[in-house]
């Protein structure tokens, strides 16, 4: 792998992994604590419509995806807040409609769509310098907003109703948060693709959550875990010649499962230790009983 760093595409891939990890570490913490995983998945899939439009109209599919993701975020946020349609129903419908639009657009576009698979499942090895520039710009924006509105987003995630009573513009903040999720998804498209995005938004943050109850530390840890997972995933995919995005996701999911099993075993051991003590006490008690008939 060290030798592979000579190649520009490999260096770009690593930079892309780092930048994707920063965005999904920060935003992923909100996604899992506010429990908006499903709406995030919906935004990601709906952005496929933009990829199709890019092919059809002849502009960058990533720009199309950005436009569609933000529109889907505002649409889903607006519909779930302002109408009586149940939230999961609205998300499910917009999710499928976005994808359907993408399929229709690609069908209408002349020729065939060569790197379509890369948009769906990621191809970190094809990240160009201009992609990196776009990712950097999005990251700067995401970091700036999270820094500026950290306490507001925390309040929104913890107790939205109280936030409203305290005078926060909660609907605006919610739509802004969904907008940031949309931008994060765009950042991640090149790395893992729109289908697999949701794993990178949730796994590093969930891993981080097991180590701290401080939101800032959680974000920091999530970024670190994200970088480690994308780096090792990339290395595995290079060594064994596997699809990069899918390898990163499978590695992340496996690490996640291992930590859950380890945690379960540790807790069981602690429980057994506690009951072990009480068994000894019970033994003492029996001894006294039989000793003094």
């Amino acid at each position: 792998m060290i030798g592979a760093l000579e190649y520009e595409f490999m260096r770009n891939a690593i930079y892309a992994g780092i930048m994707a990890s920063i965005a999904c570490g920060l935003i992923g913490v909100y996604v899992i604590t506010k429990r908006i995983v499903f709406i995030s998945g919906g935004i990601a899939h709906a952005s496929f419509g933009g990829i199709g439009l890019g092919y059809l109209a002849g502009f960058s599919p990533v720009l199309g995806a950005m436009f569609f993701a933000v529109a889907a975020a505002l649409g889903m946020g607006g519909v779930t807040r302002k109408t009586k349609i149940p939230e999961d129903t609205a998300i499910g419908i917009l999710w499928a409609m976005g994808m359907a639009l993408g399929v229709v657009f690609i069908g209408l576009a002349p020729g065939y769509a060569p790197d379509l698979f890369g948009y769906l499942f990621g191809n970190i090895l094809t990240v160009s310098s201009s992609d990196l520039l776009l990712m950097a710009g999005l990251n700067v924006f995401i970091i700036a907003v999270v820094l500026a509105l950290y306490k507001e987003f925390q309040a929104l995630s913890f107790d939205e109703e109280f936030g409203k009573v305290a005078g926060l513009p909660v609907n605006f903040l919610y739509l802004l948060l969904l907008g940031l999720i949309a931008l994060t998804i765009v950042l991640l498209i090149r790395v893992v693709g729109i289908i697999l995005v949701i794993a990178l938004l949730t796994i590093p943050a969930t891993l981080a959550r097991q180590f701290t109850h401080d939101m800032k530390k959680m974000m920091f840890l999530a970024v670190v875990f994200g970088i480690a997972l994308t780096f090792f995933g990339l290395w595995l995919s290079y060594e064994f010649d596997l699809a990069s995005g899918a390898t990163i996701i499978l590695l992340s999911g496996s690490v996640m499962m291992v930590t859950f099993v380890v945690r379960y075993l540790l807790e069981r051991r602690r429980r057994l230790a506690v009951t072990g003590v009480s068994e000894e006490e019970a033994g003492d008690f029996h001894f006294h009983k039989t000793g003094t008939p």
């Binding site: 913490v29 604590t33 309040a155 107790d159 109280f162 305290a166 005078g167 926060l168 109850h213």
Partner: protein, 252 residues
């Protein structure tokens, strides 16, 4: 000044999906009032609080809080929501929860000021929870969490404190202490407490109202078995105010 009206509801009606929840509610709360609203689950107690907070707008009638609309007066209100609806694992400390009470539109993009932090410290001291300020909220007992949520409501120096089922998670031994805390706050603000648990409002509450879609508003000595029966549709405990506060269980 002590007669200053904090809340006024006139002929307020609320419906959810064409099902009436509140009907023709009239309510007047003055400064330093302590009113307990009791009624069965589903009787509209939480809705009544949300009307005062401006979170639910009535279909008919007028609501005024401190002479203005509820939304305009919100920063004069302290709200302690029904317990147990938050995520125990949420990464937030007691300190951060209390500071939430200082959030408002004007503070967007800004850090908490020295005044904000001082107010949070004072509020935590009032509820005797300052020593737990760095603890994660989920790692406290139910009663301790309730104290933190009261501190969060107090931190904005409200003129009216609204409590939704505040004793649900407080064990009976702690309830006396809890009411002592509220008693201490009365000199500074009006208090509305809603509960389905009659014993929760019996002793320290000055005025009791029974709510089951309609609001029956009573002075201290007026609450009778008939009134409670009308609210709960079954014989219930009676409340008596005397030299020694006590309750008599009515025969079924």
């Amino acid at each position: 000044m002590s007669n200053h009206e904090v809340v006024r509801l006139e002929d307020v009606w609320v419906q959810y999906n064409h099902v009436p929840v509140l009907e023709s509610i009239n309510l007047s709360i003055k400064q330093n009032d302590f009113i307990g609203v009791i009624g069965p689950n589903g009787g509209g107690k939480t809705t009544l609080l949300k009307v005062v907070l401006g979170l639910v707008s009535p279909r008919r009638g007028t609501v005024s809080v401190l002479g203005r609309s509820p939304a305009e007066s919100r920063h004069y209100l302290g709200y302690v929501p029904q317990h147990g609806i938050f995520d125990r694992e949420f990464p937030i400390s007691v300190w951060e929860v209390v500071l939430m009470g200082r959030l408002s539109t004007s503070r967007l993009f800004r850090r908490y000021s020295r005044t904000d932090r001082q107010a949070a410290e004072d509020a935590l001291r009032v509820v005797d929870m300052l020593q737990y300020k760095d603890r994660q909220i989920g790692k406290l007992s139910g009663g301790e969490q309730q104290r933190v949520f009261i501190a969060r409501a107090l931190v904005s120096h409200p003129k009216l404190l609204l409590l939704d089922e505040p004793t649900a998670s407080v064990d009976p031994a702690m309830q006396a202490e809890f009411f002592e805390l509220l008693e201490g706050l009365r000199s500074e603000m009006a208090i509305i407490l809603v509960s389905h648990d009659i014993s929760a409002v019996s002793v320290s509450v000055e005025t009791i109202a029974c709510l089951n879609r309609h609001l029956h508003y009573h002075g201290p000595a007026e609450i009778t078995a008939e009134v409670l029966e009308a609210t709960y549709k079954c014989p219930v405990q009676m409340i008596a105010h005397g030299a020694v506060p006590h309750r008599v269980l009515k025969e079924h």
